[in-house]
């Protein structure tokens, strides 16, 4: 995706998630990687080592913030303390956009720390889009919402997940962080065609793509981020690039994390699907 208002007019390549076991290697070797994604909540703290490391990383790499607890889909109001801390971090990282999930996860101030799927209803569209707009107005930075992996569907749903994603993004006028692994996991769990999903997403809004590994069980698949990316997910990624164009791509690896070089090598597999940039005459 070329520079647009949704991606803060940036043109990033392939990045990987910044994870604790890799800190010493990254700081010592300054490996060749276009950018890092951080889990915002891990750095929304008041001091100490994580922020000191982040500041060192920021001296050498662009950093994009990705959150896990904003819960745009929850019906309660946005957490003001959360927003204030997030804004302070946005100022620190100068992230061109902030992403979080199209999900809910808190009720009456009680947090599940999960990315719970929404029923795909008009009410949920209105509620979610309104809260995304509120967050964007407060944070003063573009927001992108990510589709989640899900293991349940609900009787209340009035539309497909991809229609819901498109509707929310249009109403909120926000970007989309398209997780092709999540599309694939959900397509297996709910028996739909992942390519139909890909075609229906408003491509101009996609600012970033996530790839990751997942676990295959007898009756369902679980989004565990503890494996290399499965081949069908790469295939889906390739199709996404054909439809959307080159897009900032991020490999998530959150558990059973191998060496930095292994994670980087896995992420760089994305390169063969990207369009080669034309040389400037």
């Amino acid at each position: 995706m070329p520079p647009t208002k949704y991606n803060g007019f940036t043109d990033l390549g392939i990045g990987i998630g910044l994870r604790t076991p890799h800190y010493p290697y990254i700081l010592e070797h300054k490996p060749d990687i276009a950018w890092f994604e951080i889990i915002s909540e891990n750095f929304m703290i008041d001091g100490g080592r994580p922020l000191a490391i982040l500041d060192q990383i920021l001296e050498h790499y662009p950093v994009i913030q990705h959150g896990v607890a904003m819960y745009f889909g929850s019906t309660g109001p946005l957490n003001k303390d959360h927003l204030k801390k997030l804004k302070a971090l946005v100022k620190r990282t100068k992230t061109p956009w902030v992403s979080d999930h199209l999900c809910w996860g808190s009720v009456d101030g009680r947090y599940t720390h999960d990315l719970l799927p929404l029923p795909y209803t008009k009410e949920a569209v209105e509620n979610t889009a309104r809260k995304i707009r509120q967050a964007r107005d407060f944070l003063e930075v573009p927001i992108a919402v990510e589709n989640v992996s899900s293991y349940a569907e609900f009787h209340d749903s009035e539309m497909t997940e991809w229609q819901f994603l498109a509707e929310v993004a249009e109403r909120a006028d926000c970007g989309i962080l398209l997780d092709v692994n999540n599309i694939f996991v959900s397509s297996k769990n709910h028996t739909f065609d992942p390519f139909e999903y890909l075609h229906a997403v408003p491509h101009k809004r996609v600012v970033q793509i996530h790839v990751a590994g997942h676990s295959v069980f007898e009756k369902y698949r679980l989004d565990t981020h503890d494996h290399p990316v499965l081949d069908p997910v790469w295939e889906l990624y390739g199709r996404a690039i054909q439809l959307i164009g080159n897009t900032a791509t991020l490999l998530e690896w959150d558990d059973l994390i191998p060496s930095f070089d292994e994670v980087r090598a896995e992420a760089m597999k994305a390169q063969k699907f990207l369009f080669r940039k034309k040389a400037v005459a």
């Binding site: 100490g48 080592r49 000191a52 947090y111 949920a124 709910h190 998530e252 959150d254």
Partner: protein
């Protein structure tokens, strides 16, 4: 301590859906780690699940909901275990699991970050000491130390005060506070040694915090005998340290942090000491202040 609130009637269909699902997801699992077969009102859980979750050709509504119920508990139990490894070693695996379940069921998480999960644990255990019996005091000391460790790791820091800049100020006018990341502990057990032994076998939680990590077995340790211990849990160059304190140093620092002037803090800590003792202690106290200042503990 935050108590679990009774769910209020929700105003919209979406809010009603979320209250119902949240209640189901956060409901404790059975001893076999499965979703309870009966709902709160004793009706069949399968019926309740089927009322809002669609089944598919492989999983019933109950089984699909169970995935979320299990993920919730495995995630927060795993995170709680990461935060209190010494407590687990002190009270044993079985008691720790019972305590974790009871505490998390009652207090849960009221913060956007899992970092705060153990914030109310000390109050919970003081309220319900049977969970850690017969090691109540040892458990309380351990909880205080492990929470102090979390605070020291990422708590806020203020600009340190340079003591030499206060040299010309009378002690009655000098007021110093301690860094917010520093916790002073008066313990009945030398739990710091135990924490260091347990620490060697730790494994971290999944980085994104949204997927549960695998459970780690904690090695058996021998419990310490009581020994009055004064400790400062602090950080230096972004690494957490424990510093054993002399009781008088502990008393002075505690008083200073409570808002007493330097003169008053020293006066109270040294009350009842003979002239000879005061002469003997004077250089020691000077050294402590030098040490505390060197660590950057003092701030305004």
């Amino acid at each position: 301590m935050k108590r679990r609130t009774v769910p209020q009637p929700a105003s919209s269909k979406l809010a009603r859906f979320q209250k119902l699902m949240a209640l189901a997801v956060m409901r404790p699992l059975t001893s076999e780690d499965t979703t309870q077969r009966q709902w709160i009102d004793k009706t069949s859980m399968s019926k309740v699940a089927a009322s809002f979750v669609k089944p598919n050709d492989r999983l019933s509504s109950f089984e699909r909901l169970q995935i979320y119920n299990q993920q919730y508990w495995w995630r927060i139990l795993s995170c709680f275990g990461d935060d209190f490894p010494t407590l687990r070693a002190v009270i044993g695996e079985k008691k720790f699991d019972k305590l974790a379940l009871a505490y998390l069921n009652e207090c849960g998480s009221t913060s956007f970050t899992l970092r705060d999960l153990g914030r109310s644990l000390e109050a919970f255990v003081r309220d319900q000491p049977a969970f850690v019996s017969p090691h109540f005091q040892l458990a309380i000391d351990t909880i205080r130390l492990e929470w102090a460790q979390i605070v020291a790791f990422d708590g806020p820091a203020k600009e340190p005060v340079n003591l030499t800049s206060l040299q010309n100020k009378p002690a009655t006018k000098i007021k110093l506070h301690l860094q917010p990341y520093l916790t002073l502990l008066d313990l009945e057990y030398p739990i710091d040694d135990l924490r260091l032994k347990v620490k060697s076998g730790e494994q971290r939680q999944s980085e994104a915090g949204t997927t549960p990590s695998r459970k780690v077995k904690v090695k058996k340790i021998s419990l310490p005998k009581p020994k009055k211990t004064y400790l400062a849990v602090h950080r230096l160059e972004n690494t957490v340290f424990y510093k054993t304190l002399d009781p008088i140093a502990y008393a002075i620092l505690t008083a200073l942090n409570g808002g007493a002037s330097l003169e008053k803090a020293c006066e109270n800590a040294l009350k009842g000491k003979s002239e000879n003792e005061l002469v003997r202690l004077a250089p020691k106290i000077q050294n402590w202040f030098g040490m505390c200042s060197g660590f950057g503990w003092f701030c305004k």
